[in-house]
Amino acid sequence: MKTKCKYAKQISPFIDGELPARDAGRIRRHLASCDHCRGIYERFRAMDEQMTRMPSIEPSDGFDRAFWRKFDARENEKRWWSRWDLSSAWQPALAAAAAIILFAGLLLYDRAPDGNGLTAEDVVIAENLELLEDYDLVRHLDLLEEWEGRTDA
């Protein structure tokens, strides 16, 4: 059905009492003179009447029982979760624990080996390897001198 009259769109709100009094009066007068709109109006009214007359269905026999079973199941589930009540008292402790874990994680990350499998300390040793080797010699120089003295003797 085409809404070829400009007033046709106002028929629904007119039927539903959703038009201001002045607009409602205009539609009422229009309906008296426009066959097209009057046809729509009458069909809409007939459909509305049919819809309001559609018989109600009654809840089935097992409806209440099925509902309360679902209700109890949800309640039990809720009670199980409520043992892990994270809502109020535990929140500061959990927040503190989370902060500690985060801090420790960041610290470990900072000390973690880089892409070559070396720590920052390993890199320093590698860069000064020669000096450190010499340092070992210098550290044990007295032993070396003692050993050389014995061989000379």
Binding site: S12, P13, I40, R43, M51, S56, P59, R74
Partner: protein
């Protein structure tokens, strides 16, 4: 609004009174089942949806604020449950097979009636009308169907429906007008046949 007795009961429910919830359940279950039934055209699905509506009400109770009439709030939840369910079923049907029929009740519309052979002629005619109307309703787009049911069978105003569907009053006006036009088109042969 504070004089709405259901709001007072719901406030008791908010404070943990389970008996208050039982009162609301008993008082409104039939209306909610019928709304869901008219929406999805399947009795068993309608009862499941109605149960979900009441479970959501109970779950939402601790945060309940009486900003609208209880019935308006109840049907906002019922509308959302119905719209979500049809969307979910349609999506599910789409992921299983494009050829599979979408089970939102179409094709299985059968009014809950006694044996038609034992009914007088005018009642048979009424039942026949009901089947045609329910079938036409089920073919409307979901939001048009919801708006029409809320307006015509539950008597909500455009402003209340706008709140329930989360849209403007102008959109509601369009949904209802198009819904009525759609029904009229689908029922035209039937109207002509009876004239």
């Amino acid at each position: 609004m504070q004089t709405d007795p259901d709001i007072q009961i719901m406030l008791r429910c908010r404070d943990g009174d389970e008996e208050a919830f039982r009162i609301l359940f008993v008082r409104h279950k039939k209306k909610v089942i019928n709304f869901c039934y008219r929406f999805c055209s399947d009795r068993s699905v309608a009862e499941d949806l109605a149960q979900e509506v009441f479970l959501r009400i109970y779950r939402a109770a601790p945060k309940y604020k009486p900003t609208a009439g209880f019935r308006t709030w109840l049907f906002t939840i019922a509308t959302n449950v119905c719209l979500n369910e049809t969307r979910r079923r349609r999506k599910q049907a789409g992921t299983i097979s494009l050829d599979a029929p979408i089970d939102i009740g179409k094709g299985e519309i059968q009014p809950d009636i006694e044996d038609p052979e034992r009914l007088p002629d005018d009642q048979i005619l009424d039942r026949e009308q009901e089947v045609h109307l329910q079938s036409a309703l089920s073919e409307l787009p979901d939001r048009q169907r919801a708006a029409l049911l809320l307006r015509i069978t539950h008597d909500f105003s455009y402003s209340e429906i706008a709140g329930q569907l989360g849209c403007s009053e102008n959109t509601v006006k369009t949904l209802i007008h198009r819904g009525r036009m759609g029904l009229s088109d689908k029922l035209m042969p039937y109207f002509k046949g009876r004239q």
